[in-house]
């Protein structure tokens, strides 16, 4: 009897939640979406497209360098491709993929929330990102792409030595891109601080969330340095200001200091989310909690913090005073410690646990191997005399590719397999996935390991051709072969995912027995993520069966369902006590409109039409005003 009375009410609640949270169908729905999962998917596919672009650029570079004195590409084309490869991979792939795709999709789910703190701002950050990517690529398509290297040193970046619009695409495009990333970082910080499910105090946050918090804080404090550097550059190029030229009291090293003040934290920004993915996969596939959890969480925050103090190790060959070099070398040695803590924590978790080396954990195994290689060569760069020999050679190209490809992309690939069932509701094909790992692993090793050697043999960076008598030929050829093997591995991964999307076996909500909250809801999750606000008493809530049973009871009883409106709970920052129930905004067209105005503003600046740019700026502000007339409580 009691069941009959209760069951229809439960169905009605679910139906009500569905109705409240459902978004418009079709293209219009995608353009006006504020759902973090949809935005995460938009980011995912867009960053994949940029990954392909960056990959094609890499293959063209490797083809040109396969043999000595090749004439596949001329120097101008090569310089544009190598610059765009760096810019694309860093700004348009890795960071938007880890923060925009993985972060957006997973953060609210893992903290038991129904969306990000500022859903419309979330949409804006995606449209701004897309706009910035198109903006920069317009340059390349016109064969006027950025051609000064991804850190574009001065005076090479001035009108005197690079008169065309190439550097303007670079500078304005990256300022544009920085707006998107800053908006995203802001959103993550507020979401992580305020929207955690009641009971999730700061020390009960999953390690992925710690990583996202560290990344977001880093971005907030690092991006302004790059932004100002680029603003100075554009003022110098377009308005005749003088910041970097000696003749008028400027200093070329100002560019480098401001760039690397951003640039070094940037590399931790690149790896931190990957650490977060690794620390999500390891506990699941070893079925045990991470060893030394508090140390690992602290290490994630520390590496970001100490990373702000080491920037000048990118400038050891510039003639800085020896005492300065020594200070930065000391700091660079210190920043190693949080990483060694994490490496051993991960490894000992694998030793103590019961590892199942299915595809996700294989990729994490590959990640650990490559991160250690890249980290060890990184430590060598803290030895000043060695740094001064190998900087700007292929040795450093090897170092950062082991870190970026090995330590950031491998977790991304593993994470794609890991969360594929959650997003699509289907399992990927396991054997093909394992083969794809070995191909990718072998390809990566073969592409990047010889670069250490060829760098020690004197091959400098950014050369479009090299002479045959220096002993570099065989290594370069292996690297090119490796690149194609790597490409085959990647194609197999994406082929697997695509096939499995339509033909994979159904996975159910929790195929891998994960410990975090995203596994506590259906696959894919409903628009509202959780029908009832989850009860949290540990960092691995999905392993707390008692709490999950309590959730089921609450759903039946109708408590904590929050179906009066577009609602999600907000908690206190440190302890996660329930504080208020928030109203989330519905879909909105204004983020796209604002992003469009901003894109037109930057295009006007590129063409030096300042007045027109101001008009578009004004329009953007008007659109922002219109946006804020729709107050969530009213709906």
């Amino acid at each position: 009897m009691a069941v009959d009375v209760v069951a229809p009410s439960l169905e009605r609640r679910i139906e009500r939640l569905d109705r409240i949270w459902r978004e418009r169908p079709g293209l219009l729905g995608w353009l006006t979406t504020v759902d973090h999962k949809r935005i995460g998917l938009l980011y995912f596919f867009t960053t994949l497209a940029f990954f392909a672009a960056g990959g094609i650029e890499a293959l063209l570079i490797r083809t040109q360098l396969a043999g000595p004195n090749e004439r596949v590409l001329g120097p101008e084309t090569y310089n544009q491709l190598m610059t765009m490869h760096g810019v694309t991979m860093i700004f348009l792939f890795v960071i938007p993929m880890t923060t925009g795709a993985f972060g957006n999709y997973l953060v609210p789910l893992m903290i038991g929330a129904r969306d990000m703190a500022f859903p419309r701002l979330n949409a804006l950050s995606y449209w701004l990102f897309l706009g910035s990517g198109i903006f920069i690529y317009l340059g390349l398509f016109m064969h006027r792409g950025p051609n000064c290297g991804w850190f574009c040193y001065t005076p090479l970046n001035t009108r005197t030595y690079d008169p065309g619009p190439n550097v303007d695409f670079y500078a304005l495009g990256l300022i544009f891109n920085g707006l998107a990333t800053t908006a995203g970082a802001l959103n993550f910080i507020v979401t992580i601080f305020k929207l955690r499910a009641p009971g999730m105090s700061l020390n009960r946050m999953p390690l992925f969330i710690f990583a996202m918090l560290a990344v977001s804080l880093s971005l907030i404090f690092a991006l302004p340095s790059l932004t100002m550097d680029l603003v100075f550059l554009e003022l110098q190029r377009k308005a005749g200001f003088h910041f970097f030229d000696v003749a008028h009291g400027g200093d070329p090293l100002l560019w480098q200091h401001l760039f690397w003040l951003f640039g070094h934290p940037e590399v931790y920004i690149i790896v931190l989310p990957a650490f977060g993915i690794a620390t999500s996969i390891i506990p699941t596939f070893t079925q045990r909690k991470m060893i030394a959890f508090p140390l690992v969480a602290l290490a994630e925050l520390l590496v970001a913090f100490i990373g702000f103090g080491v920037w000048a190790h990118h400038m050891f060959a510039t003639g800085l005073p020896t005492i300065t070099l020594i200070a930065f070398a000391a700091a660079s040695m210190m920043v190693v410690i949080p990483s060694t803590i994490q490496v051993f924590a991960w490894t000992f978790t694998v030793v103590l646990g019961r590892p199942e080396f299915r595809a996700p954990l294989l990729f994490i195994g590959g990640f650990i191997v490559f991160f250690v290689i890249g980290g060890l060569s990184g430590i060598m760069f803290a030895a000043i005399p060695f740094n001064q020999v190998t900087t700007d050679t292929y040795f450093v190209v090897a170092h950062f590719h082991f870190i970026i490809f090995g330590a950031a992309v491998f977790p991304i690939l593993g994470g794609m397999y890991y969360w594929f069932p959650k997003v699509t509701g289907r399992l990927y094909h396991e054997r093909a996935a394992q083969l794809s790992f070995w191909l990718t692993f072998l390809g990566t090793a073969l592409t990047f390991f010889p670069m250490h050697i060829v760098g020690l043999l004197g091959m400098t960076r950014r050369v479009y051709a090299y002479s045959p008598h220096l002993g570099w030929d065989a290594y370069n050829l292996s690297e090119t072969i490796g690149a194609f093997i790597l490409t085959a591995g990647l194609l197999l991964i994406f082929g697997n995912l695509l096939w499995s999307r339509f033909r994979g076996t159904l996975s159910g909500p929790d195929p891998f027995f994960g410990g975090t909250l995203e596994w506590a809801t259906s696959s894919p999750p409903p628009e509202y993520n959780f029908p009832v606000v989850p009860k949290v008493t540990s960092p691995y809530p999905n392993w707390d069966r008692a709490d999950r049973e309590e959730d089921a009871r609450r759903l039946v009883a109708g408590t904590f369902v929050l179906d009066e409106g577009h609602e999600t709970p907000a908690s206190t920052v440190r302890d996660g006590y329930l504080d208020e129930v928030l109203s989330m905004p519905p879909e909105s067209p204004w983020p796209v409109v604002v992003a469009l105005c901003v894109a037109l503003l930057f295009t006007s600046l590129l063409l030096s039409h300042v007045v027109v740019a101001c008009v578009f700026g004004g329009l953007a502000l008007l659109a922002l005003a219109a946006w804020h007339t729709r107050e969530p409580e009213e709906s």
């Binding site: 800053t182 404090f221 302004p224 100075f232 308005a239 200093d251 401001l258 969530p632 409580e633």
Partner: protein, 195 residues
């Protein structure tokens, strides 16, 4: 509605999301200006003469007085927020309007001085002028944004106070405290060669 909004605001333990949002935004902007001011002093200590020959030393008194007037507007904006929290909307609107008038006056005078400076020395001539005008221009732009935020709020508050608008007011007030603090840092940098 306004009473409801005020009551809900007082019932919160933690600060609202909007406050955290503006706090993070302020952190970015503060870092941005930290970079500009850092660049100012980096360039300053590269050259023997600052300002360079032919460029007049910056005036000290007028900028300091103006900044004092701007910083003083922190009082009415804070009053506006406290009043709104206690559902005294009339007082809040009046205080905001007073602040707006003073801030607009400040901006107007600063723009006149800016243009006057441009007539005397140009950013095309020296790094000093380049960083000087960038620093001041950036600051004035932030003042303008603050004024626009306040104007928008005043408009919205005509139809009363909601939870959303109260948080917006709190955020705007925070932003203004930041701008005023920034004004102090900027003016001290601006007049530093003459000190």
């Amino acid at each position: 509605m306004s009473a409801e909004a005020a009551r809900l605001d007082r019932g919160r333990i933690a600060r609202p999301n909007g406050w955290w949002g503006i706090a993070v935004f302020v952190a970015t902007e503060a870092t941005l200006f930290g970079t500009i001011i850092g660049s100012y002093f980096f360039l300053r200590f590269q050259v023997p003469q600052w300002p360079p020959a032919g460029v007049p030393d910056p005036k000290v008194l007028v900028p300091l007085v103006l900044t004092a007037a701007l910083v003083a507007t922190s009082i009415p904006v804070q009053i506006a927020y406290s009043a709104a929290r206690r559902d005294r909307l009339g007082v809040a609107r009046l205080a905001l309007l007073l602040a707006l008038v003073v801030q607009a006056g400040y901006l107007g005078i600063q723009i006149r001085l800016f243009i006057g400076d441009l007539d005397k020395f140009s950013p095309n001539q020296s790094a000093y002028a380049s960083i000087y005008f960038t620093l001041l221009g950036g600051h004035h732009f932030h003042v303008l944004i603050g004024i626009l935020l306040e104007a928008w709020l005043l408009l919205r508050l005509i139809t009363g106070l909601t939870r959303y608008r109260l948080v917006a007011l709190q955020a705007t007030v925070f932003y203004w405290h930041f701008v005023n603090l920034l004004a102090v840092a900027v003016v001290l940098t601006q007049v530093s060669p003459a000190l």
